[in-house]
Symmetry: C2
């Protein structure tokens, strides 16, 4: 029987390098996969249903949330975005460790729900680095950068609520930390309960003096 | 400033391979060190004070326990054995991750005391393997093997009280698991609090629009 995969919740402020870290991490760890979100927004050119997003109608989105079928969801810029439970569970049942890259608010909701997950927060190595990274993104206006920095502060104020903090200073070191956290999560005592129970069961049935 | 090392409590039944795993792990991880116990028993030939044990008198041992200076201690075969707090703290202050290889009872006492430590339990891959490993130790009489197996069952019944369970099936895989657990423990959110506080402090003092 395949051991079910972990649910990994991954957050961090804009500019911490979430996408870069995840890309590298997923390249090196084929037992992990990014969760695919559902959205009510229209597909952009080149986007594939079930790969970039599950593109669903507002009606369907409403049904899923009403039935408690969304792990978390958010309304952003006129559209709904959410994580369908069944998609995550189906991947985990096949032994994949599923990574949810979500905002702090969504992550804390999942934590409050008592869902068993590994919560990882990606930190920049310093405030200066975060500012520089955001300033170097030419896509953002100065106002936008200031706004992102304000949000970053709010998000980092919740970092201590996560299980683990990995620091994106050096990309190699950071992905190695992620890998260690995921490997260690698979060694958590509750995750290994079945093996312990099996050995103890055998201890009762296979008599000490048998050979 | 050096970050203080972790306290790692390591237990497992006789025959699980604690010494083999630890030897390999310590060879590969020079940032970790085994704690040196204090004992009231006389040194055996070749044993070095401060290396194999701290050899102390019964009076001194009594003083240290009375002053709460022992992290844990036990009476075994006519002698006392214990872990002196100051030795552990001195090593941790120098950044070493200190490993305490102790019995389940001592480990659970440390846990009850609320001491911040990483609790790792070493499991054999199966009951059959554990039996074989103990039977192959020619030093033990059959009665002794049976006794050790009974104790092993009692100990494994407490495995779920540890933070992590590592399985000694393949030595390479097992030491890799230990390494991941220690690396992940260094990423625990409470262990990284200082970095987060520093970044948030800088966010207040270095104004958003500064360059």
């Amino acid at each position: 029987m395949t051991k079910p995969g972990l649910l990994i919740v991954f957050s961090g402020p804009s500019g911490a390098g979430k996408d870069t870290v995840l890309k590298r991490f997923l390249d090196e760890n084929p037992d992990c996969a990014l969760s695919v979100s559902a959205t009510t927004r229209a597909p952009r050119e080149g986007e594939v249903d079930g790969e970039n997003y599950f593109f669903i109608t507002r009606e369907r989105f409403g049904e899923l949330t009403a039935m408690g079928e969304m792990l978390e969801y958010a309304y952003y810029n006129g559209n709904y975005y959410g994580t369908p439970k069944d998609m995550v569970e189906e991947q985990r049942a096949r032994g994949k460790n599923v990574i949810l890259e979500i905002e702090v608010q969504g992550a804390l909701k999942i934590k409050e729900m008592g869902i068993d997950a590994v919560f990882i927060f990606l930190m920049p190595p310093s405030w200066k680095t975060l500012k520089q990274r955001l300033a170097n993104r030419n896509t953002d206006s100065p106002w936008n950068v200031a706004e992102r920095l304000n949000i970053a502060v709010t998000e980092m104020e919740s970092a201590h609520l996560y299980d683990y903090i990995v620091v994106n200073d050096d990309l190699d070191a950071c992905t190695a930390q992620m890998k260690a956290v995921v490997a260690a999560a698979q060694c958590r005592a509750e995750y290994c309960r079945e093996l312990v129970e099996e050995v103890l069961r055998d201890a009762q049935t296979i008599h000490v003096s048998d050979n």
